[in-house]
Symmetry: C2
């Protein structure tokens, strides 16, 4: 069995906490990592406060293989991620010549590299840049921490540049079975199936659709055969209880 790697995400930004902005980066990153056999096992959202960023990044980088951060690497006064990450690693934040060159190639003129923009080229000493094909200002890696922009389009472009350099585990396959039964009817049978397949993560998620309670059973595992077997048992159990089971987004195969 291949190793599965772990990751954590640190979302930095008052705008997520106040409810002004709906975070969508968590879902994007969670999916992309699953595809590469890396499990996102914790997310934290913290405000633009240096001590909070330092505490969170130090707690998370000690706990997982890879930490990702989003937000706070822009040119304005509330962008304090790079300074905070530098302090978390006990290194100075320094103007990076390659980052400066990336900005110059984006803004074209030397005189357009204002102090505010040069802040985006100031990164923790020892950081390795991650290219930003959208707006020039790069992300970077320091230790096991990848620092990315918060704007989804830019974050996604940076992540595409990061993914190939991550260690890859067995992709986590996921099967979903939806059904028109309330989840309490299947609970005891589902627990039996979970006990029989302890290596498979089985989740039961109720939903309302058109005013009716229904559920989705999600089975996740890097191992194809037991996943397929357990999924069949879930389908049979739901049908035996009089439900109409729909097997949707089945990744395992026999």
């Amino acid at each position: 069995m291949e190793k599965n790697y772990t990751a954590a995400l640190l979302v930095i930004g008052n705008e997520i906490l106040s409810g002004r902005t709906q975070d969508t980066n968590t879902q994007w990153i969670g999916k992309k990592l699953s595809d590469r056999g890396i499990r996102l096992i914790e997310v934290r959202v913290v405000p633009d406060i240096e001590d909070e960023i330092i505490l969170a990044v130090n707690a998370l980088r000690a706990k997982v293989d890879y930490v990702f951060t989003t937000g706070g690497i822009g040119p304005t006064h509330d962008d304090i991620t790079s300074e905070s990450i530098a302090k978390a690693f006990g290194v100075p934040a320094v103007l990076d010549e390659k980052a400066r060159a990336a900005l110059l190639s984006h803004y074209k003129k030397e005189e357009d590299l204002t102090p505010a923009r040069l802040k985006m080229a100031t990164v923790p000493e020892g950081a390795v840049l991650v290219a930003n094909p959208v707006s020039g200002a790069p992300g970077y890696r320091i230790g096991n921490v990848y620092v990315m922009a918060g704007v989804p389009m830019i974050m996604q472009a940076m992540l595409d540049n990061i993914l190939p350099e991550l260690k890859e585990g067995a992709p986590i396959l996921s099967n979903t079975v939806t059904c028109n039964l309330p989840e309490s009817t299947i609970a005891s049978r589902l627990e039996e199936i979970q006990d029989e397949y302890p290596q498979i993560e089985i989740g039961s998620y109720p939903h309302f659709r058109a005013g009716e309670l229904g559920l989705s059973v999600v089975l996740r595992s890097p191992e194809n055969l037991p996943l397929h077997e357990a999924t069949q048992k879930v389908i049979h159990a739901l049908e035996a209880l009089g439900g109409i089971a729909h097997a949707v987004s089945i990744q395992s195969k026999i």
Copy 2:
């Protein structure tokens, strides 16, 4: 000046971390709390793992006035929130007679109160119930921790029942000014305005619309007059730089 209270949210569920489900509860809760003068200052998302839930809830409840949790209080094997919260508080999880009665009134027949459903009436000893008008199974409060369902419609109904009992600070007013300039052009002037009004939280958020970089400047404060003044200065600064500023969602008034 009235006190502002603080809150944290603990989102419990593998489905958020894997990317299967887009969390929307954070935004909803963040907004509702802001309206009551309570600042959401941290969010954590953890998997359905007992030790992780215990660690997170104990860290958060020591840090803020109110902790909210979402998810993991249903009838299936992966719903382990109540047991974990009980352990975090060092109390047993017990069948609550009022919770049982709420379930009976929802399911109607005694024989429909299966062991799986009765699990939803099993809460940490000493918990005070929060009514669930949608699907019967209640949420609850223990200490400063409010435990709610993960399904948004149910969470929202529970939160409506919780909000009136929270201590209320001055509502946090929020003004938003959008503009067609990239944020780096306004950065230095914005920092001056921030320095002049340290009690106002000023955030600058870039966005892409129709392929063009623009920005939203968000100013937040429980104090009306300085907020209004600072907002006017931001608008004038943006216009002085040649931008077209739109004042949108302005809550402060003169």
